[in-house]
């Protein structure tokens, strides 16, 4: 213990005072510099206080821009993927071994010639061990999305995963008509697909 506690309660104990030295200029300069940096940062990412701008977008035109001139519009599919699929397959499509979810990115199932098997998986779900791109994945269960999404939405999300440039995917687009056809063919099915069953169905018509 330091000396000042040795004698508690001295009759008069001086209270601290403050000097009136000025604030150094470099501190003000640092603040202005950081404020400038902050303003640039906000301008680049803040969406200018527009409540409709969410990450990963930084401005309104970016979020509502017209579809790309070549190829289908991937943004609606991306929104569905992030909301419904990313919980297990992850936003970056690498899958999650903890829940036996195989990867989407680079998957030979996703990049097949046609979407016939993919559409069935999304409609009625999948169960049992599956081999993806030459690697075995344990017996996870994917739930059916038959009642959740419309033909249009399933087509959008499948188009997104088949053509996502981030994963260097460039497979064919999926249309709502293809989904509607398979939904009609399998409307009486009440159980998940198994990989073995799916492999008997041609990937492409």
């Amino acid at each position: 213990m330091s000396a000042e506690v040795k004698s508690p309660n001295p009759t008069t104990e001086a209270e601290p005072t403050a000097s009136s030295a000025t604030v150094p200029m470099w501190l003000i300069a640092l603040m202005l510099l950081l404020l400038l940096g902050g303003a640039v940062y906000f301008d680049a990412r803040g969406g200018w206080f527009d409540a409709r701008v969410y990450r990963p977008f930084a401005a309104l035109p970016e979020q509502f821009q017209p579809p790309p001139p070549d190829g289908p519009d991937l943004r609606p599919g991306r929104r569905i993927y992030d909301a419904a699929c990313a919980a297990c397959h992850m936003v970056n499509g690498v899958g999650n071994p903890a829940v036996n979810a195989p990867p989407i990115a680079g998957s030979d199932w996703v990049l097949a010639d046609g979407p016939n098997r993919l559409i069935r998986i999304v409609l009625d779900g999948l169960t049992g061990p599956i081999e993806v791109s030459g690697k075995q994945y344990g017996g996870g269960v994917m739930t059916p999305f038959k009642g959740t999404f419309t033909d249009e939405e399933i087509a959008q999300v499948l188009t997104y995963i088949r053509r996502n440039p981030d994963w260097k995917h460039d497979a064919s687009e999926v249309t709502a008509e293809q989904v509607a056809k398979i939904r009609e063919q399998t409307k009486d099915r009440a159980i998940n697909w198994t990989p073995a069953e799916l492999l008997t169905i041609p990937a492409k018509d």
């Binding site: 508690p8 604030v23 902050g38 990450r55 071994p97």
Partner: protein, 485 residues
């Protein structure tokens, strides 16, 4: 009364504005605030220790619902802030207001009632959290019936703090008084707003998350900072015997802290309109400005002073400043997009908060309490050596907890971003850092026990003396003049 140290009769002290008189007027309220705070602090760190053991052995105490992670972890954080930080800061604030105003504390007995009520509120909140009634909003887990008690108790204490300040004899304000007064207003504003909008009349959707983050940011980065800096700006000049450098710099710290601190708290990955996390991250980076000013101030005030700190209050204050600087650097770094891409949702945030809440705030306030306690009690601390041991437990414990987790958090984030590493491997890889962190937590717990021991010993010794004096009064022979023939 035989012992002058325990004289507490209002009549004897009413007009006494000497430091001894002022200290005596603060005695009972401060005993109540500090004693309860030390108890909750130890209990909170025990809960925190149980929570961290679950990362090493998941089935540890998993059979009792009230000892599961989801309950003991919020119990520990809430006890740290509501049980320890707020009452201890209020106690130090009351004492500083009385001392700086050269006036006795107004209505000490009502403040004591307020302090008791506050501890009852914390007790109710703790039981509610352990019973599974927590609200689910981080740092605001105590349900609304506990919140009402806490708010009433706070107001009861704050009213007499303002009354004391109003009656001050020294009219010139010292910087610590600005900080204390702002803090006194800040808490009821944010706490009532958050409680009303989240628990009584819940707002819809993502607005709830925004309000919860706003509240916790303000509580941790404005309220704790105001209360902690008020103490270091008061005690540092006092302990080194030099004037504070300077009053203008303190003004600069005050306004930049309030201006930037109030926006901090929304993580970069929050699912809110993009401007909210962006502005919050920008404010986190701007916090470097007040932190740099604080460091400059502390260095200029203490530089060249020949006072050795020897593990006493001065050491605590200096370490607190260092921890503040380090924590703000981590905070500012996590505002940068190329850093928070890796650090969001990792141990990095825990390390940053521990440095802030324990390293800066708690250590500064420990120093203040160790300085005040012998003065208001009227005798030396019973275990003066424990103060130094507590200091080193706190320093090593904080660093051992925060540094490995900060490093481990960055590595965890980098691995999480790599699709080739499975999630379970990433989690397992953080265990080594977490083991070090648990060691740090044990040291902190040991330090907190020493704190409780010192305060408890002061209280026991004081009340024993009071009882003895009362017994002596009762058993003393009646003065002969009053004996009727």
């Amino acid at each position: 009364m035989t012992a002058p140290a325990v004289t507490n009769r209002p009549a004897a002290l009413a007009a006494d504005s000497s430091t001894a008189g002022i200290d005596a007027s603060c005695r009972l309220p401060l005993f109540m605030l500090f004693g309860g705070a030390a108890f909750w602090l130890v209990l909170g760190s025990i809960f925190g220790f149980i929570a961290s053991l679950k990362f090493h052995k998941a089935d540890f105490l998993a059979d009792a619902a009230w000892l599961t992670f989801g309950r003991v972890y919020p119990a520990s954080t809430n006890l740290l802030v509501y049980g320890f930080a707020i009452p201890v800061a209020l106690g130090v604030a009351l004492w500083m207001l009385a001392r700086l105003g050269r006036v006795q504390l107004a209505r000490p007995w009502l403040v004591t009632v307020g302090a008791k009520l506050w501890h009852i509120g914390v007790c109710v909140g703790l039981i509610a959290i352990l019973a599974g009634e927590a609200t689910g909003f981080e740092w605001l887990e105590m349900p609304r019936y506990a919140a009402v008690i806490l708010l009433l108790a706070y107001l009861l204490i704050a009213v007499w703090a303002f009354s004391t300040h109003h009656a001050r004899k020294e009219r010139t304000l010292y910087p610590s008084q600005w900080f204390v007064l702002a803090a006194l207003f800040w808490f009821p504003w944010i706490y009532s707003t958050a409680t009303l909008l989240l628990q009584f009349f819940p707002v819809r959707g993502v607005t709830q998350a925004a309000i919860a983050w706003w509240y916790s940011g303000n509580l941790l980065f404005v309220w704790l900072a105001l209360a902690g800096l008020a103490s270091s700006f008061y005690f540092l000049p006092k302990l080194v015997g030099r004037p504070l450098q300077s009053s203008y710099l303190a003004l600069f710290v005050f306004w930049t802290l309030i201006l930037f601190g109030t926006w901090v708290g929304i993580p970069a990955g929050a699912t809110l309109p993009a401007w909210m996390p962006t502005l919050s991250n920008m404010a986190a980076m701007m916090m470097v400005v007040p932190a740099a000013a604080v460091v400059l101030m502390v260095v200029q005030t203490t530089r060249g002073a020949k006072t050795a700190c020897g593990g006493g209050p001065l050491c605590y204050m200096k370490f607190g400043t260092g921890a503040l600087a380090l924590s703000v650097l981590l905070l500012a770094a996590s505002g940068l997009p190329f850093v928070n891409r890796f650090t969001d949702f990792t141990w990095f945030g825990t390390a940053k908060l521990q440095l802030w809440v324990y390293g800066f705030f708690a250590m500064t306030l420990f120093g203040a309490v160790y300085y005040i306690l012998p003065r208001v009690a009227g005798f030396e601390l019973p275990a003066a050596k424990a103060v130094r041991v507590h200091f080193w437990c706190g320093v090593i414990g904080t660093l051992l907890f925060a540094l490995p987790l900060a490093i481990g958090g960055v590595l965890q984030g980098v691995k999480l971003a790599n699709p080739d590493i499975p999630f379970t491997d990433v989690t397992k890889a953080t265990l080594m850092f977490f083991r070090l962190g648990t060691m740090g937590e044990l040291l902190i717990l040991a330090g907190n026990l020493l704190f409780l021991f010192n305060i408890g010993a002061v209280l026991v010794r004081y009340y024993l003396a009071v009882c003895r004096a009362a017994c002596a009064d009762l058993t003393a022979p009646l003065p002969t003049a009053e004996v009727k023939p």
